[in-house]
């Protein structure tokens, strides 16, 4: 076209020259002197990043998410550095403190917790000798709530009106008292059965309960009810009043052995009656009478047709069933709560029974029994202690109380120490907190040591810093009569000063059972998760990029082989890959990162491969190849920059997904164990949900916030850098 025009011009030229109207001046180029191409654009060119930024900032939710993410990131690096709390060693004095931000009494996030309907054992309360006292101070089990805690708030006394949680059982209704154990997968609680006295052999590692009837010495195996309970560490059975309502004279009770057996593929509860039903006036005497009557339990069980020759049982229980022969329904009142001591965990804590629900056995049982008595082989009911099948209650009266419990006051407030190291006193003396003199003298007459009462003195010099609240008296000092050693008893102290704090500490997220500051621990976990996530992302991204690039660029056989490999790898569920790697290589940071990397790169690789397929045949690639560019140059300089946008778009959400995978697998207990990741923290505190929910709620909140903001941010970023959306919405 251009040539044609030139040609036309040339042809017309002679005519034009001859024309007087048009002079040579007209043919001068107007802009000949100006260098147009050096002029700057009046509008600024937008770069890819700027355009992305512009589009990203339009997406409000992503911006907010980015802000939250940045905040979390900042905290995760600042908090572990700034916080002086020690999270690596155990601090029993700080255990289970509630989260506290405001001062106590504000009612929200103030380190206090409202407990309601806690079954309370009044006999365990100190300072409560009379009933009146008991109503004044409602302490639940002192093991669970340190008895010196200040317990405020409402007090509810369900006795003697029995209104709240009493239930009734009617004619032929049964009530079961007993120890019951389930075999749920952990080898726990069976150790409690271990005894040599009766041929009831259960070892810690054995999942089954074996009854050995073939006694070599042919000694009859006596087992009394009381002994069963005793061996089962059923606490507080002794010395309690078990009372059935007074009009309940027609009741009968008997001892049962219960176990599960499989009938038509279903687990059904079967039981063997060990004693005849005996009339009872109250359960206490019933148990006593059963105790006196020696029962060869193993023989009865072995000979029972129900057992069918079995010698081992998975889930067993011994129980006393009380049958109601009356036509009336009787009110059953729980007299006292009991707990089981679990030997395997070595905790002597009495479990707290909350919200004891005694479902009305009468209706449900009777209905079931009347409709088809053969179908229901149980004619009694378990008293369920709320939620776990392990916890059972026997008949008794339960006193519920509701109160506000200030864990800080209890653990670090004012209380008195039973024994106080004398070295501490000396230390306070050296620090000039106190001035004291307590020496022991040898009595010349009796040749025994005693406190020298004349020289004794004790004054508090620095009340601000001294952990001891009041001046000690002579009564606080005890002298060993034989060697003159002095001990200090019942010392009233201020807890936090005693443990070395200048003021009452505040733990924003509370503390866990070893006294760890959850704030620091959670953010350490967050930092760990983030580092792991980013590291894995980088490795996966780079590897996926290279793998996909090779596969997509070369194609053919190379591609086919590489594709089959990814097919197989992606066919294995990631959880399987992870467990295999972890059990083969052990659980530490690097194997864990490796396990995460093993499947993580597949997504990036397939996106890259598709992109390379798309671009490798383009003209510019061909042109570059003709100019002599080698494969590496073509991949790195020509195809990759074009494909990058889409690849990054696909890979952006990898970091949250890696964090998610890590948390999930650690939570399942298959992954990391000793490193502080969010999943590990959650997994460790899983059992605390009922009594200390803050240990789970805070890390859960952090991880949820992290995931939400990461996903929102990732989505926004993906939209912003997606090359196909470039320039949209202008």
């Amino acid at each position: 076209m251009k040539n044609d025009k030139d040609f036309e011009l040339k042809n017309n030229l002679p005519e034009v020259v001859n024309d007087p109207e048009i002079c040579e001046e007209d043919f001068k180029l107007v802009d000949a002197d100006e260098r147009v191409h050096e002029q700057k654009f009046s509008t600024k060119p937008t770069t890819f990043l700027k355009d992305s930024m512009k589009r990203f900032s339009k997406n409000k939710s992503s911006v907010v998410a980015a802000g939250i993410l940045g905040f979390l990131l900042l905290l995760s690096f600042i908090v572990p550095v700034v916080s002086t709390a020690d999270v690596s060693t155990s601090h029993p004095e700080l255990r289970y403190l509630e989260p506290k931000l405001f001062n106590a009494g504000t009612g929200f996030w103030d380190g206090t917790k409202k407990w309601s309907n806690i079954a309370t054992d009044t006999s365990l309360m100190p300072d409560a000798s009379t009933d009146e006292d008991k109503e004044k101070y409602w302490f639940p089990s002192p093991v669970d709530f340190k008895a010196n805690g200040i317990i405020k708030g409402s007090k509810k006394f369900s006795a003697p009106t029995y209104t709240s949680k009493a239930s009734e059982y009617g004619k032929d209704g049964y009530m079961q008292i007993g120890y019951y154990d389930t075999f749920t997968g952990d080898y726990i609680s069976f150790s409690t059965f271990e005894t040599d006295d009766f041929n009831v052999k259960v070892k810690d590692t054995d999942p089954s309960f074996e009854l050995d009837v073939s006694d070599p010495e042919n000694k009859p195996t006596w087992l009394t009810v009381f002994d069963v309970y005793d061996e089962a560490k059923l606490k507080t059975l002794e010395g309690n009043s078990y009372s059935i309502p007074e009009n309940y004279e027609q009741g009968e009770c008997a001892l049962f052995f219960n176990f599960y057996k499989t009938v038509d593929g279903k687990q059904v509860l079967a039981s063997v009656q060990l004693t005849e039903y005996a009339s009872v006036h109250n359960i206490g005497s019933a148990i006593d009478s059963l105790k006196q009557e020696k029962i060869n339990i193993a023989k009865i069980i072995a000979e029972s047709p129900e057992v069918e020759g079995r010698t081992s049982f998975d889930v067993v229980s011994f129980s006393v069933r009380i049958k109601n022969l009356d036509n009336k329904a009787h009110t059953c009142v729980l007299l006292k709560s009991i707990g089981f001591e679990s030997e395997s965990t070595n905790t002597s804590t009495l479990r707290i029974f909350r919200n004891i629900s005694m479902s009305d056995a009468t209706q449900e049982m009777m209905q079931a029994y009347q409709t088809d008595s053969s179908k229901y082989n149980y004619k009694y009911w378990f008293c369920d202690g709320g939620n776990s099948s392990v916890r059972k209650l026997y008949m008794g009266k339960v006193i519920y109380c509701s109160f506000t419990y200030d864990s800080y006051e209890a653990m670090l407030g004012s209380f008195s120490l039973d024994t106080f190291a004398i070295s501490k006193l000396e230390q306070y003396y050296r620090n000039k907190y106190i001035d004291y003199l307590a020496v022991s003298t040898l009595d010349p007459v009796t040749h025994k040591y005693k406190l020298d009462e004349n020289s004794f003195r004790f004054t508090i010099l620095n009340a601000k810093k001294c952990p001891i609240r009041e001046a000690l008296t002579k009564d606080n000092f005890k002298v060993n009569e034989d060697n003159g050693e002095i001990r200090c008893i019942n010392v009233p102290i201020t807890g936090y000063k005693y443990y070395g704090y200048s003021s009452m500490p505040k733990f924003l997220f509370g503390t866990d059972k070893t006294g760890r500051d959850m704030l620091k621990y959670v953010f350490e976990g967050l930092r760990f998760s983030l580092v792991l996530g980013i590291l894995t992302f980088l490795v996966c991204f780079l590897f996926g990029l290279v793998y996909g690039a090779i596969s997509g660029y070369f194609g053919g056989t190379v591609d086919l082989v590489m594709e089959r490999f990814t097919d197989i790898l992606s066919g294995v569920p990631w959880i399987v890959v992870m467990t295999l790697v972890v059990i083969h290589l052990g659980s530490n940071f690097w194997t864990f990162a490796l396990a995460l990397c093993l499947t993580g790169w597949i997504g990036t690789a397939s996106t890259t491969r598709t992109q390379f397929y798309r671009f490798r045949g383009r003209e510019y690639v061909l042109a570059s190849r003709t100019l002599g560019a080698n494969d590496a140059r073509l991949i790195a300089r020509h195809i990759l920059p074009n494909a990058m946008g889409t690849i990054v778009t696909g890979a952006v959400l990898m970091i949250p997904s890696v964090i998610f995978s890590e948390a999930t697998i650690s939570y399942l207990g298959l992954g990391l164990r000793n490193l502080p990741s969010l999943g590990v923290i959650l997994s460790r505190n899983q059992a605390e949900l009922m009594n200390n929910p803050h240990l789970l709620l805070f890390p859960a909140m952090v991880i949820a916030l992290l995931m939400i903001s990461f996903n929102l941010f990732g989505n926004g970023l993906r939209d912003a850098i997606n090359p196909s959306l470039k320039g949209e919405g202008e």
């Binding site: 939710s61 389930t182 749920t184 997968g185 070892k203 590692t205 054995d206 999942p207 089954s208 074996e210 599960y260 593929g265 279903k266 687990q267 059904v268 509860l269 081992s312 629900s357 449900e364 149980y378 378990f382 709320g386 939620n387 776990s388 099948s389 097919d567 197989i568 066919g571 294995v572 569920p573 959880i575 399987v576 467990t579 295999l580 059990i583 083969h584 949250p656 998610f660 948390a663 999930t664 939570y667 399942l668 207990g669 298959l670 959650l682 899983q686 949900l689 009922m690 929910p693 789970l696 709620l697 859960a700 991880i703 949820a704 995931m707 939400i708 990461f710 996903n711 929102l712 989505n715």
Partner: protein, 348 residues
């Protein structure tokens, strides 16, 4: 289509075979664990069965050249039995043979000693399926309905609310959701049981026990479907053929029902089908937190650090792998079936 389907199925078979072989070698190369049972008779029976199945050799004297000794038992007749593992490659071929001829995938060593792993899976599978099926039946219609609602009311407050909630719920890890559900619905209010009930508990309790698992499984699923349906519907709504349908004189509703939804459902239906395959797998997290005796918690139980039950673990892995592959095939095949333009992996 038939040829394509057969090809896909065959390919999946080969993939599954390779994966299982790899898993077998990886698992068997771990330090072998003998059977764990207090009763000597059970252990003896287990080893004799293993000898019959070809995984173990029985020697009457100590033979150190044979590798790791699993156990030494003196039987009632006073005869010594030294049980040695056979080489892994030998075990592998016997394993394949036993699967083909006896459908014996291995015996449990810890969970229920000397019981076939398939039987253990069989007793646990119904529980997982029952939980999953309820959750699928709830989440699929609800998810699709919410997705349609959000898609049709795009960029209104309805859409924004739904989308935000979806974003939130899809981001929160499932164990957090389960933990919170248990905390609120079981511990705080006491409405629902906090763990899976034993068979002897009342029907009411056992029915109520489904609520938390179903809820926690459904949340993620509902959100996934809502997002998916919304995205598909939005894409279809802005397409030209819908504009054409409107210009031809169809009302908005007609256009949506006859054109938009129909086309939007092309990618959705296959994923619903794949979801139904997924009911055979158990959620490990949910099942282990709520102690549901399904195959997900079986996996965790079999992986117990102190006493792992590798044979059961392997069958469980096989199930999860097979489900994944099956769902993938079904997804691709039904895509191709519903929309002949899309035939995944077919030669162009």
């Amino acid at each position: 289509m038939l040829k394509y389907s057969l090809k896909r199925i065959l390919l999946a078979f080969i993939t599954a075979f390779i994966i299982l072989t790899m898993t077998f070698f990886l698992v068997k190369s771990l330090p072998p664990t003998g059977v764990i049972s207090p009763s000597e008779n059970v252990r003896m029976a287990y080893y004799l069965d293993q000898v019959a199945l070809g995984y173990v050799t029985d020697r009457s004297e100590l033979t150190p050249s044979l590798g790791k000794l699993l156990e030494h038992i003196k039987d009632s007749a006073g005869v010594d039995h030294y049980f040695y593992q056979t080489p892994i490659i030998h075990q592998y071929f016997r394993w394949l043979g036993n699967i083909v001829t006896k459908w014996d995938w291995g015996r449990s060593t810890v969970i229920e000693p000397n019981t076939s792993a398939i039987i253990i899976i069989g007793t646990r599978l119904p529980v997982s399926i029952s939980v999953n099926i309820i959750s699928v039946l709830i989440s699929v219609p609800l998810g699709i309905a919410l997705g349609i609602l959000a898609g049709l009311k795009k960029n209104t407050w309805v859409d924004h609310t739904i989308s935000t909630l979806v974003m939130v719920f899809i981001s929160i890890p499932s164990f957090v959701v389960i933990t919170l559900l248990i905390y609120w619905l079981a511990y705080q209010t006491g409405w629902l049981p906090s763990t899976w009930p034993t068979p002897d508990q009342s029907t009411k309790t056992r029915v109520l026990a489904y609520v938390i698992p179903v809820l926690s499984l459904s949340f993620g699923s509902i959100c996934g479907y809502t997002r998916f349906v919304r995205a598909e519907l939005c894409e279809v709504m802005s397409s030209e053929y819908l504009l054409l349908a409107r210009t031809k004189g169809l009302t908005k509703n007609q256009a949506i029902v006859r054109h938009a939804l129909r086309n939007a459902f092309v990618p959705i239906l296959p994923s619903v089908l794949a979801e139904f395959i997924g009911i055979f797998g158990g959620s490990m997290i949910l099942e282990s937190i709520y102690s549901i005796p399904g195959i997900g918690s079986l996996y965790i139980k079999a992986l117990n650090q102190a006493n792992p039950d590798y044979n059961v673990l392997m069958v469980d892995m096989a199930i999860f792998t097979t489900i994944g592959l099956l769902a993938g095939i079904l997804l691709d095949l039904s895509y191709g079936f519903l929309d002949p333009r899309i035939r995944m992996g077919e030669k162009r």
